[in-house]
Assembly symmetry: D2
Homo-oligomer: 338 residues x 4
């Protein structure tokens, strides 16, 4: 297969390059970015040792490829997705442009760049929508926080076991904020610091969480607080839920083990283990632990790599599904582990 | 005043040395630790540039001082507190030994090393118990997590504005775990990692939070989840509360501003600001922000330095109160700020 | 005294604000930056808890003050220095504009913004030029790397004990690169990375080192390689020297102890101790260790805080000298120590 | 092939497990450590997702395998190597026990645990000794610092282009110090700190560097200063050399390109590029840049992953050579890259 990565100078784009350059079924890899002129990929990421050039976006039409990953800011992705879909290229969009119903999108993001495509987009939460993904022409790859949240919560929601308010206290490494030069993301500002942001229902991943959750259960409300961790990769979510009926930790764990029985990336941890971000860095894995506190609330802790299952890893998993490959193809390596 | 720091090779002990060696009213500083023989303080903390020796504990009886800070593990502190109190030395104990009613202590920690002293100990949350602190002979200096939690929550609890379950999702830098050599606290294990621990109501700071909270309000329950941040100093708490009546953020802020009007270390942040740990590193300050989410829950975010207001800073503040000094004496320097 | 900090949103400017706001002789502090309009200092550095405003540079003429610290990029500082000097304000310039002879400056930096002032500027290496500093109207505050290098090497150079090539392998935390938003200084680029830069005699601090060194000894050549450490504050230099005559480590140490006998910030470490950056963070101290290797070369290791003795700390020390104060005034606090 | 990793709870052991569990020719993997009883590997390294058990060393004799990696402290490795060699197991020893001539070993390390094996051991610097490695029964896998140093310097030494003193200023992440619990390696001690250690010719990797170097060139002397970087993985060496004849940077680069033409892990960087540790993290790659400074000295900068080419990666490369496989087998994945 030939594939294109659009936005190859960012962290998500580079992680796509890492995964796709090791993928056994990928025979051609084209890189593009919004910059002017060609640039050596290696000037951006020496460690990837990838000898290719990154081309400007106006050369997108000149190359032939089967799949295209769009790792651009929201609003920009939508502008390119339409042309690619019309050319017959399968598109996996990693921006927010196709994750929400049109009206919700426009409330949170403003005018949509390609409203006519919203209907054909399939939400790419691989474990939940694999059948639709297999035949999709345009994938809305989920946000990093919603991926962690939904995989942790949907198994209970779809069994109608939840009620009331779900509190999702989530923490992320800095690469979730992208690679453009912002003062607040300087090492001098981030190191030896931990801080919340977007407190009080204002983060744009909240409607994405609620939108999918509402497909499975009614009457639930989500409170979501993101925080910035002084580290590069990883999301850790601590989620507090109320059950409609009393289930033991062991019964809860069985629900998850059954649900994800055929999903090799989802690891339901045995008793006594808790997720940690280093254990998923560089992988497409999702670690989930289930605990109850003395008063009966369920506490789910979940860890993903925001660039792995939270972005590039899940995008490649979706490409595998669309291409009829095993979903783990090219995703089994352990990047790093401590 | 002459003061002793017992346990001067740990992080809390060293922070006490830093603060006391800059304190304008401290004229003599004696250091002790559980090790054998004398050791140069500078071998442990070159940066403090403090020329003194650390002596073994069996020399505690040979020196004269007015105040003694015990920065020893729980169970050990209690053993030394009694003798010091009997000598007429005022004791500020930074262990957990005198923070809880006896029965609660023994449930969580086992047999008490000095049960006869529990009754005379005063809980050293300076802003709430200053009158008792001024005349106390033995202070139970609060735990780091409870300090952040209680200062964030008590102003609403004491006005009977809270109901139901309080969720306290808290995150701490590594110095809270002490300075003894443990594999799990190695740089190689902690860096580029974020993890929860003590999930499900098992952390020993939970009964301390509940015990004080219950003095001010009935029927509240606390869920407390601690997490480890890859950084050295700082606690950030994200606390979710339900109000009994509908109050605006501005009304809430007024309650806090009134409550802490005369407490110079408590900073109630104006709208648009959120606490961050670097802003309190090296200080005795407490930053508190009040937010409401669309559904009406209150989200309080709070930051302290776990070694400052969470340990050594508050201990010196308590010494100031006990000595009739201004409570900010020796605590106004800004150690570091980004 | 009333003082102004020009460039108060950068790291050096903010460190000046920290030190000056705790300085017992500073009664007024005016802040300026190159931005438009007034901004709250606290929006930049919440942790400093400094309630003042930062004003635009065109208001510089409206305020009265005795000392002015210029923490601006080279080329900019020179533009403001002249006007201030003419007003009778004493100027301490932290840029490179007045550190070099005019011809050398123009070779490395291009046209000089205020060539007429170069002659009156005094190089502010406090321990070496204190007499000139006391009466200066314009101080060229030394660069961070040259400060560490010169204090480590000059005691031997001025006794004509050195020969040949001096290799200065130096490592710095990121704040030396300033606070403007650059991709290469993002946390995601710096963390878990260590890299050299400016290899091969191209760093602009090299002529500054050589220029001062040549005042004290002839025929020496310096090779200087800077590196970037994944941390915020601190410079560690490892310097390799050839002696003209055979001296023991103890004899070398005596030379330094004698030289710096009356310089309280310079700490010559006893045998068995080595400098480390955490031991100087937040201070104006300089730690120096002297070692010889089996073949006879001297290895000097030196640590400073690049924002302390390497910038703001030395600038305040120079202000103290100019104002006839004790040079340690306001500089004795230990900010942090591990 | 079946392989054993002895010492699987340390960082080097775990990196071996990571690489060997992804190796296409490894069909069985046995883990051992010095602890008592069996332990789950996952309890040590959750992220590796390796389901096996670690067995105590006394079960080493009960299992059959073709290769054995010894990742034990020096002195311990030698005790097990003999028995394994006699059993016909090929041994790759990652300790220092077989890296030095016997007399040199005993001077630096004390009595040798298996002196009779020293003669049959082959020094496993893959690019230099591949022919001997292919038929060896016992490999002394090189130290991390010597690997970086020798690959950077030998191409010039073996052409007799060097003279005088070679200064090797090297910096390493913390995993080089192993995973046992030591106070000085706690996160609280290492983070935001940079420090030299072993200054003045006392580090045990120095005789290893000199011993190999002397095989290729006479009359050279090495000064080696190690430093500790606040990060997990990576070594960066800055090496200062004097040439016997004047060669341009381009001529130097050609020598290296020719030398390592068939060595896929060695990357000689083009002009304008410098090595950095993140670019080799998780790989077996070696990045080398060649620069000259104005006075004619050559400055070589070199980066490796201390756990990759500096330990486990080179060990697997040596296994590949011994097994007649392509030396890159199982070593081509990019673990992480920024």
């Amino acid at each position: 297969m030939k594939v294109a990565v659009v936005g190859a100078t960012g962290y998500t784009g580079a992680e796509l390059v890492r995964l796709l350059s090791m993928h056994p079924k990928v025979s051609g890899l084209f890189l593009f970015s919004r910059g002017d002129g060609e640039i050596d990929f290696r000037q951006n990421f020496l460690g990837l040792d990838f000898a290719g050039k990154i081309k400007p976006l106006d050369e997108l039409a000149k190359e032939e490829f089967d799949f295209s990953f769009l790792a651009l800011p929201h609003g920009e992705s939508g502008r390119y997705a339409g042309e690619l879909v019309r050319r017959g290229v399968k598109v996996i969009d990693l921006s927010a442009d196709f994750r929400l119903p049109l009206a919700v999108y426009e409330k949170w993001y403003g005018p949509h760049p390609a409203p006519e495509l919203v209907e054909i987009a399939v939400y790419g939460l691989s474990e939940y929508f694999s059948e639709k993904i297999k035949t999709a022409r345009l994938i809305a790859n989920p946000g990093c926080y919603p991926t962690a949240f939904l995989l942790a919560v949907l198994p209970l929601a779809e069994k109608d076991l939840l009620q009331g308010v779900i509190i999702s206290d989530m923490k992320s490494g800095v690469t979730g904020a992208g690679r453009s030069a912002k003062r607040e993301m300087l090492f001098g500002e981030v190191a030896e610091n931990f801080r919340p942001y977007g407190v009080g229902g204002v983060h744009r991943h909240l409607p994405e969480m609620e939108n999918i959750l509402n497909n499975y259960a009614q009457g639930l409300r989500v409170i979501f607080t993101p925080h910035l961790i002084p580290m590069k990769r990883g999301i850790l979510g601590t989620i507090y839920l109320d059950l409609k009926q009393n289930l033991s930790t062991e019964e809860l764990r069985k629900i998850y083990l059954n649900k994800f029985h055929d999903n090799p990336f989802i690891k339901i941890l045995p008793e006594g283990y808790l997720p940690e971000t280093r254990a998923v860095a560089g992988t497409n894995n999702v670690l989930i632990a289930l605990n109850k506190e003395p008063g009966g609330k369920v506490i789910i802790t979940v860890a993903i790599d925001n660039l792995g299952k939270g972005a590039a890893g899940q995008a490649v998993q979706n490409m595998n599904l669309m291409a009829g490959l095993d979903e783990t193809c090219g995703l089994k390596n352990t990047g790093i582990y401590f």
